[in-house]
């Protein structure tokens, strides 16, 4: 039997990749990076790097970058809440997660954004939990009804209770790390168990160009020491906070990611790190970040190719849209992104559900995007030979009346060869008229209602729930917040 080839999308030649990495290392060595965290600066000093105290600049020697690359694991095993289901982050494995940290939710009925509340986050999380092609959940929405000071931890608190899936999250304040880690430990039972079976990925975003804030650098070292994978989210905007050429932005992107990776390895050798990002092309008129633009996706696919060349786990923000409603643009930008991300073999893809750049979640879009993810998985499965011979036997005794609908071959293979999306319109025109000309967003709205109704909320052991609540209460109290929902 002839196996399928895995279709792959590539934009860079090996020569180009080598040159980009070379220039990135050159920048780190000669120009350095800015690190606004004393402890990290000290780690660099102890490793023999030159540190200018006055402007908190670190010059990273090539040897340290090479050593850090060789001690960074090339794959990470992430586990779901139960600890039974394993997900490999490495190689060409593809996992989708909703985009993270939106502030509003799109209301299908009013066709307007509204402030997201805890109930929206719960609904979103429950829905994520039952979508087949969305492998991970994320702390997708900031709950507007809870004080901003504790909102990092609060999102995780909700996510862990309402979904079984591994979670992409991150801190908003240095103080947020401890309670968040404690919650993860509460699920796993011990610090060691969490290290053996990581459940969450923490995003850390350097500020372009080449700057690690106090918060993000602290997150890197805290995660490294707790065995929690850090996902490095470089986010240069071409022509604004990074060079305008895609090549130039890639150099900066690689330099930022490599410096983050070095920080993780200095904190703990062997710490899990994911080479990631959310770069974008900058709109030269509106001053906005064109996340759904083809050039943005080109940057994404290209840095992924570089990360793979370095044998690192990968992440990108794709499958989201700059549009403001579930319109054509939502579909084509997310569709192109999801397909290209799968063809690029990206391990963690954040984006489904998101619109209005990265600030709004649409629960209906998440369900639609889930179907696009299903198509993407089908695409990368490729075409394989199912039978020997392929088809000659099927044409034996063929007559003018022959059909294939009722032959055993069809019954045997059609479920493997085809996908079965629910929301995509494949009805006749008359049916569409009779169903009151419903759009895909209308159908998604109904599907959301059905899924929430038919799928019971994921249940978490009562003792663990009590423990999570205790941690949350303590954090709220320490942050001088009197109560939360």
């Amino acid at each position: 039997m002839i196996k399928a080839i895995r279709p792959k999308f590539k934009l860079l030649s090996d020569d180009f990749i080598v040159k980009i990495i070379e220039e990135a290392c050159c920048i780190l060595e000669k120009e350095g990076v800015f690190v606004e965290n004393e402890e990290v600066l000290n780690l660099f000093k102890e490793a023999g790097m030159e540190v200018t105290k006055s402007n908190k600049r670190v010059f990273i020697k090539r040897k340290l970058i090479e050593d850090s690359l060789s001690s960074t694991p090339s794959l990470i095993k992430l586990y779901d809440r139960s600890g039974h289901k394993q997900f490999i982050i490495g190689g060409d494995q593809v996992h989708f997660a909703p985009g993270s940290t939106a502030v509003t939710i799109f209301d299908h009925k009013t066709q307007e954004q509204k402030k997201a509340l805890t109930e929206d986050l719960i609904r979103f999380t429950r829905l994520t939990d039952c979508l087949e092609y969305i492998h991970f959940q994320s702390t997708a929405i900031i709950s507007g009804d809870v004080s901003g000071i504790i909102s990092d931890c609060y999102r995780l608190f909700i996510g862990l209770q309402f979904s079984e899936k591994p979670i992409v999250t991150g801190t908003f304040r240095v103080e947020g790390f401890k309670p968040m880690r404690d919650m993860l430990i509460a699920i796993r039972g011990s610090k060691d168990a969490l290290e053996r079976k990581p459940l969450a990925i923490f995003d850390a975003c350097p500020s372009p160009p080449l700057k690690w804030s106090n918060l993000t650098s602290q997150s890197l070292i805290d995660c490294a020491r707790a065995g929690i994978p850090s996902e490095l989210i470089s986010m240069g905007m071409t022509g604004a906070t990074s060079p305008v050429t895609i090549g130039g932005t890639l150099v900066q992107h690689v330099a930022e990611n490599l410096s983050g990776l070095v920080i993780c390895q200095l904190a703990k050798k062997g710490a899990p790190v994911i080479f990631g990002g959310s770069p974008s092309v900058f709109d030269m008129r509106k001053g906005t970040t064109r996340i759904g633009a083809i050039e943005t996706m080109m940057i994404d696919s290209a840095y992924i190719q570089i990360a793979k060349y370095l044998n690192l786990p990968t992440h990108a923000y794709m499958g989201l849209s700059d549009t403001k409603s579930n319109d054509n643009q939502a579909g084509f930008e997310s569709g192109i992104g999801i397909i290209l991300s799968a063809l690029s073999g990206i391990n963690v893809i954040s984006g489904p559900g998101m619109m209005d750049f990265e600030s709004c979640q649409s629960i209906e879009k998440l369900v639609i995007d889930n179907e696009i993810c299903g198509m993407a998985y089908r695409l990368i499965d490729g075409i394989s030979q199912r039978d020997e011979p392929i088809a000659v036997d099927l044409f034996k005794d063929i007559t003018q009346e022959s059909q294939f609908l009722s032959v055993p071959h069809t019954r045997k293979w059609y479920r493997k060869e085809l996908t079965f999306p629910k929301l995509i319109d494949r009805d006749t025109y008359d049916y569409w008229i009779n169903s009151r000309k419903k759009s895909i967003a209308d159908r998604a709205y109904e599907e959301v209602g059905r899924l929430i109704k038919e799928n019971p909320s994921s249940s978490l052991d009562k003792n663990i729930r009590v423990e999570l609540k205790k941690i949350m209460n303590r954090y709220a109290k320490d942050s001088e917040i009197s109560s939360f929902k």
């Binding site: 606004e36 940290t101 502030v103 900031i142 901003g148 909102s151 908003f172 304040r173 500020s207 700057k211 804030s213 918060l215 905007m237 022509g239 604004a240 906070t241 900058f282 030269m284 008129r285 509106k286 001053g287 750049f357 600030s359």
Partner: protein, 222 residues
Amino acid sequence: MDEEEILREIQTAVIDGNKEDSESLARQAIKNDMNLSEVIEKGYTIGIQKVGDLWQKGEYFLPELITSAECMKFAMNILIPQMQKGKIMINSLGKIIIGTIEGDIHDIGKNLVASLLSANGFQVFDLGSDVRLEYFIEKAEEEDADFICLSSLLTTTMLGQKRFIEMLKEKNLFGRFKIMVGGAPVNRKWAEDIGADGYAGNAMSAVVVAKSLTANKSKKGL
């Protein structure tokens, strides 16, 4: 070069975004003992207005807009100290304190706003990024500012805008300065809710809002 020629060259330098010429022409104007208020009004300001027209027509994009604004800023850095020395009145539409709120080190949007405000005749004090809320007030009092502009790119620091207005109320300073807010997660509704005077979704509209707030001192620019 006669004076007319210098003024024309200044306009061209601003329109073309030629920083070196813009600066050297400012020095030339001082050397020639020209009327510096006129140099600004008939040279630099006309230039920046033409840049605004090109933007409106869709011919210019942000890189041109910002480079021209910087041309203007560099020239002002040369002309204003000279005018102060000669005790020449500087025409300003108002004093503006601007910065990105503490916890936030993103400042590209704020920089765009600051550049365009200053290019359009406001005197801008840019406090940079990650600025303590108290410092905005201290600086505004020190400079007797007309406006305080708060930028936040993050949803977390956006809450600082609300806290800032509460702080002004506690200090009995609410109403003394016009407060403008902006940044990626900020919108008009938020600005209204927290009691800000103005909101702008982009740098060009920040100029329009600031000008309208200057023209109608009591009105809100939301």
